[in-house]
Symmetry: C2
Subunit: 410 residues, 2 copies
């Protein structure tokens, strides 16, 4: 899809400048040069090129700068409308379409309810094509051309083959989903595990960029993980590594959505917490196998108000999660474990038994210096990360087209 670029140094530098501007916002050329260890001449040359092509814009010096002595510096920033990307998150009974602008900001989001477990592969692809077509037409007027598409799926996917191997959202297995979309849309299409999308969102954040070995655990409807080794996502031999949710808490334990027993997910995920809770506690009505955010919030409130059954449910989940994290520490010995996802809503309820389980499980030297932290969950981080991944593919394409200067963007 992307042909090799011989002038690789200028390509790499251009990509680095675009990513700096996306991570940090508007910057003066001199600061951009320093941050990327480039000469001012290089930055001036590349930014001239990007300005001419409408990929970046100049901005007047900020009010803060005008208060300083010395000549105020003109800032450059990405043009948010230089291009946009579409992401599609496939979950149980829901397909979420998101549009990100060229700065990585959320431009549009809509959700379609659909009985995903009943879908055939053809119906799924038709649904996606129809919706992307509609979105592209509406977007053409308001923001740039669609430069890239990223699908995010809970479960096991093969990014290399472009197929959904297994997902709790589908009865289908081994669905080849990327090829039909690539054939239909003239832009890069990629498929990623939802947890890898979340790790992309987190590692595009300046605070986390520099952590070499980082385990990102996602709590929500399921329990996912992304593992960064030497700053790169570790995918394993066949692209299905870091399936933390399906490591075992106990043989023959609670039933998991994967069909097996005793997985961490079968105690810690939303469906597992709600499965235990809804028979004993007064909670909003609804599909107890796929609890809504409202139902989960109600369960957390009961625990916060001291309901002993609700507190016990979270204490057990924290113990299971801590035991699972102990295995991640023993096997991966990461610099940091970051817990995120909508399940972070209950972290205060999970934390005491989680800490206790870690201490019970490992000698001090194996817990070591690994930091354990949580990362707040405001926007849907899967979609925000998919936007980052889609933009990465778009950037490559932009820089490639920059060199040929003959093709339109999309």
């Amino acid at each position: 899809m992307i042909t090799p670029v011989t002038d690789s140094i200028r390509t790499d530098n251009t990509l680095a400048l675009i990513r700096s501007l996306r991570a940090h916002g508007a910057m003066a050329r001199v600061d951009l040069a320093a941050a990327n260890q480039l000469s001012s001449a290089t930055v001036t040359s590349i930014s001239g090129d990007l300005l001419e092509r409408g990929i970046i814009v100049e901005r007047p010096p900020s009010a803060q700068q005008l208060g300083h002595r010395g000549r105020p510096k003109t800032l450059i920033a990405l043009d948010p409308d230089a291009a946009c990307v579409i992401t599609i998150k496939l979950s149980i009974n829901e397909v979420r379409f998101t549009v990100g602008n060229f700065c990585g900001e959320l431009h549009h989001s809509d959700t379609q309810a659909v009985d995903t477990l009943a879908l055939t592969a053809e119906a799924l692809i038709e649904l996606l094509v129809r919706h992307i077509d509609g979105l592209s037409q509406r977007l053409a007027a308001t923001c740039g051309p669609v430069a890239s598409i990223c699908l995010a799926v809970q479960g096991i996917v093969s990014p290399v083959r472009g197929s959904i191997v297994w997902s709790p959202a589908f009865a289908l297995r081994n669905v080849d989903i990327v090829s039909p979309l690539r054939a239909r849309f003239a832009c890069p299409v990629q498929l990623e595990n939802d947890a890898n999308c979340i790790s992309a969102a987190i590692t595009s954040h300046p605070d986390y960029m520099a952590i070499p070995n980082l385990a990102v655990i996602m709590l929500g409807y399921g329990v996912g993980m992304a593992m960064l080794i030497d700053g790169k996502p570790y995918l394993g031999a066949h692209g299905s590594s870091a399936e933390f949710g399906h490591t075992k808490y106990e043989a023959n334990g609670a039933l998991c959505a994967c069909g097996k027993r005793g997985c961490i997910e079968a105690y810690v995920s939303d469906y597992a917490l709600y499965r235990d809770a809804h028979t004993l506690l007064p909670l909003p009505a609804g599909d107890s196998a796929h609890p809504s955010e409202e139902q989960m919030q109600a369960l957390v409130r009961l625990a916060e108000n001291g309901n002993p059954v609700a507190k016990q449910i979270f204490a057990k989940a924290g113990h299971v999660l801590g035991t699972g994290i102990a295995n991640v520490l023993a096997l991966f010995n990461p610099d940091q474990v970051l817990i995120t996802g909508s399940g972070v809503r209950a972290y205060h309820q999970l934390a005491p038994s989680l800490d206790q389980a870690l201490n019970d499980a490992l000698v001090e030297e194996l817990i070591g210096q690994t930091r354990l932290a949580t990362y707040g969950w405001d926007h849907d981080m899967t979609c925000m990360g998919a936007i980052q991944l889609a933009l990465k593919a778009a950037d490559h394409r932009l820089v490639q087209l920059d060199r040929s200067k003959a093709l339109p963007l999309a």
Copy 2:
């Protein structure tokens, strides 16, 4: 310790040729060139240099070759006496000293019984210095100078700091052991976890060199693991990754040598198997906390002869091991899991419940295409791997000294 070499291409090529000859034995120059994707001229030049310095020797064509048509090719091989290395394996109540020749073959091995748990750091270092001194004097007459020393320790070590963080062999923690030996002996000294030594032994074997993601599980007195990611040992953020033996089978389970409960090691290691066995079965007398090979062999024979208690002990261990390996598959998704160590003696007894546990634990897609295999255990693989690691350091030094041509080898 090793200063940078500017002529890095020739250095790399020289190291590659030495390692090829060590892995494959005597080779013709033309085959050596093909195997390393080098020109014949380069191989001729480097081998001329190595011949002159007595690092390689020429051998007449083999009998097999003489039967072929065409001019028989002269072979070159490493001189086994070009240098030697000393390895020291520290285990409970035993220190094993091994000498490897320059071809990586075992030249000498002796074992000293010592109450390791009662040792002070000073006494340990004095014991090592005294024994290495004695060995060096004896070796000077029979093989080359000592070019490198490698310590192999069961437990958690910091190769970077050169200290034993925690080991079941010692009451001590955080013992700085490398610095005193470096100060005493004029050669590289390194410290490695025993499982990493075993992975070095295995990956120096032509059959396993090309597997990118390989989990090597070692069964024996303890349960260790080495993880190769992209062909390189993965050490984690603080050098204590891949502690498979201390991942959990169950919270509050059997007591482990690390002091915690429910670790895989507490069910699968020799001491765990024997702990269960010796109260109920007729077995040779001895230290039941540190069973000998003879005691373990007796237990295996009982199971092979159909003793139901012995069979049940191994069936439980296989189930625990399979459950633990399921977690390794879910988190690392390796190309292959290789089970080795002296505990492989009972693999036939472990295998049925191990396979069953894997199938019970994971959906088919997560077991995936990972191959599970065993690797026979004749020589002590920890020592054989430590020899390989020590030779790697020696090679670097040799090539470095090659360039200065002023210093003696050791």
